[in-house]
């Protein structure tokens, strides 16, 4: 069971503001999603290795060779908040 407090906590972790009314509603919805996935618990997975990746490949590497970076102009093209070549954000601690 997901509680209202857990919804608020998860909201905080994602930096999303969730008010009283919303947290009740989200808790209910999330619980129904969890119940749905709960059906998977009925499957017997005794002795089955966890699957982290669906493709059965290992060791994909690249050589340590430099490729071109973007121009500073392109890097900052999607923001209005910039200063002396930096991104500028509100004060964060």
């Amino acid at each position: 069971m997901i509680t209202k407090e857990e919804v608020e906590h998860v909201g905080w972790l994602a930096r999303i503001e969730i008010d009283e009314k919303e947290s009740d509603a989200y808790a209910e919805k999330l619980n129904s999603v969890l119940d749905y996935f709960g059906q998977l618990d009925e499957v017997d997975t005794e002795g089955v290795e966890p699957t982290y990746h669906v493709a059965d490949i290992v060791n994909v590497f690249r050589k340590d060779e430099v490729t071109e970076s973007m121009s500073q102009e392109d890097v900052l093209a999607n923001t209005e908040n910039k200063q002396e070549g930096n991104f500028k954000s509100p004060r964060i601690m």
Binding site: H9, Y52, H53, D64, E65, T67, M70, N86, R91
Partner: protein
């Protein structure tokens, strides 16, 4: 002598080492050579976390990680993978850090440090690969900040996080551990320790075998020692006043030299680690023998060899093997002159002069060092003059021979003195006769003539002895 550790101090360190000797970042081909560059000029869609970009792992970064693991006497894991550590902070634009979690590439090693009571083992819990976040620069003061500037050049650089066991029993041992670690990494050629951000440490410390407190944000080796000294004092005071030590994270304020509690709202479980779906697992166990072959002779082995091969004392051998460049420099010099002389001049004199000027050994050549040592050991210049020559080379440039000539530092050679003695005796038969007749003062007259002939560069006492010897023949 066994160190009793009367205050039950346990210190563990988490050290982040930036592999700045790689050409490219961990997951993209952006150059690592950003230190003197404009902000946000060494970035691409991958290290900016733009939608649709996919990371591809740098093969050499994995090799370096294995190399470090082996040098720290760790075992290398059979199969490993990356995880996402989720947190919301603009130093990583993807909102997660790609790191290792359940299978660090290396684990269960140890290194030997110079402890409070001689050689002391410090266990290495694990070493794993992760990406470095961006550099944030807060504008204005902390409480009146107008905003934060973000430069992603550092974002995506390869870090190796090395976690030690809480085996250090004093701040001094913590510093020695860091020095040893830096020395080993320097030998491996995986990083340039002088570059900004090359090595950073977090510390955890407890007293009287109690709860541990983590200290973050320590930027220098000296800072580690200072932060730990402060924190140990704070914990002891707290206990003496009847208080308790709670497990917490504190922040080191370098300017004030104090640690400050920082309330963290995120626990380990809040990072919601899960396997990185964009990177496939690595099976690198079969690389180990090959990488092991590339391991150089490490500081402990080199020190032992220097003591054996060149008959050096422990102190000299240690001083000469901390940095690989200094060790190589010494060995080159020792090929040409007596190794013991080489050790004295490189370790006791040259290193001191370099440190004083904040220069590295690159500022002096092997050839010049050999020249200086030869001049001294051939008795052509005094030790004092030799130091003068080294200082002049460092400050004004020039070759030792030239400097010796220009400054007139050559000691008067024995045969010049001998000739002057012979001449002085031959030219002053009266004085000789007077002396032989019992007039002691006449000796001074003859010695004075010798000094005149050598333009005062002969040693007066030496000249006197030589005249006496000649007269008593």
């Amino acid at each position: 002598m066994v160190y009793e550790n009367p205050d039950g101090i346990r210190i563990g360190l988490e050290v982040h080492v930036q592999l700045n000797k790689l050409n490219t970042k961990l997951f993209c081909g952006c150059s690592t050579d950003y230190h003197d560059s404009e902000p946000n000029t060494h970035v691409c869609p991958i290290c900016l976390g733009l939608p649709g970009s996919l990371p591809v792992l740098n093969e050499r970064a994995v090799e370096f990680a294995i190399k470090i693991g082996l040098a720290l006497n760790c075992s290398i894991v059979e199969q490993t993978q990356f995880h996402r550590k989720n947190y919301y902070y603009p130093d990583l634009p993807k909102n997660f850090q790609t790191t290792q979690y359940d299978y660090p590439i290396a684990a269960e090693g140890k290194i030997i440090i110079e402890g409070e009571d001689g050689e002391h083992n410090v266990g290495i819990t694990r070493a794993h690969i992760e990406e470095d976040p961006a550099r944030l620069q807060h504008m204005g003061t902390i409480d009146k900040s107008k905003g934060t500037l973000i430069n992603y050049n550092r974002s995506g650089m390869t870090l190796i996080e090395i976690v030690s066991e809480p085996d250090m029993r004093s701040p001094k041992e913590a510093r020695r551990y860091l020095e040893k670690l830096r020395s080993i990494l320097d030998y491996l050629g995986v990083f340039d320790g002088d570059l900004e951000g090359a090595m950073k440490a977090d510390a955890n410390v407890s007293v009287f075998w109690g709860e541990r407190v983590e200290i973050k944000n320590i930027s220098s080796f000296k800072g580690v020692e200072r932060a730990l000294l402060y924190e140990i004092m704070r914990q002891k005071n707290q206990i003496r006043r009847g208080g308790e030590i709670v497990m917490e994270t504190r922040h080191f304020d370098e300017a004030r030299g104090v640690t400050i509690s920082m309330r963290t709202k995120e626990d380990e479980q809040d990072y919601r680690y899960f396997p990185e779906p964009d990177l496939v697992p690595m099976r690198v166990a079969d690389w180990v023998p090959k990488v092991r072959e590339t391991l150089p002779e490490l500081p402990d082995a080199k020190r032992a060899r220097f003591m054996e091969e060149y008959s050096l004392g422990e102190t000299h051998a240690r001083a000469l093997t901390t940095e690989i460049k200094v060790a190589n420099f010494f060995e080159e010099v020792a090929k040409k002159v007596d190794p013991k002389d080489a050790a004295v001049w490189v370790s006791d004199i040259l290193k001191g002069e370099l440190n004083y000027r904040e220069l590295s050994i690159d500022a002096f050549t092997v050839e010049d060092m050999v020249a200086v040592v030869e001049l001294v050991t051939a008795n052509k210049i005094t030790e004092k003059s030799a130091v003068d020559v080294i200082r002049t080379v460092l400050d004004d440039g020039g070759k030792p021979q030239e400097i010796v000539e220009k400054k007139g530092l050559l000691k008067v050679e024995d045969d010049i003195v001998a000739t002057a003695v012979d001449e002085a005796i031959a030219e002053n038969p009266e004085a000789v006769a007077d002396y032989l007749g019992g007039k002691e003062k006449s000796l001074n007259f003859i010695v004075g003539k010798v000094m005149q002939k050598t333009k005062g560069r002969a040693d007066a006492r030496e000249a006197r002895e030589k005249v006496l010897a000649k007269l008593n023949e």
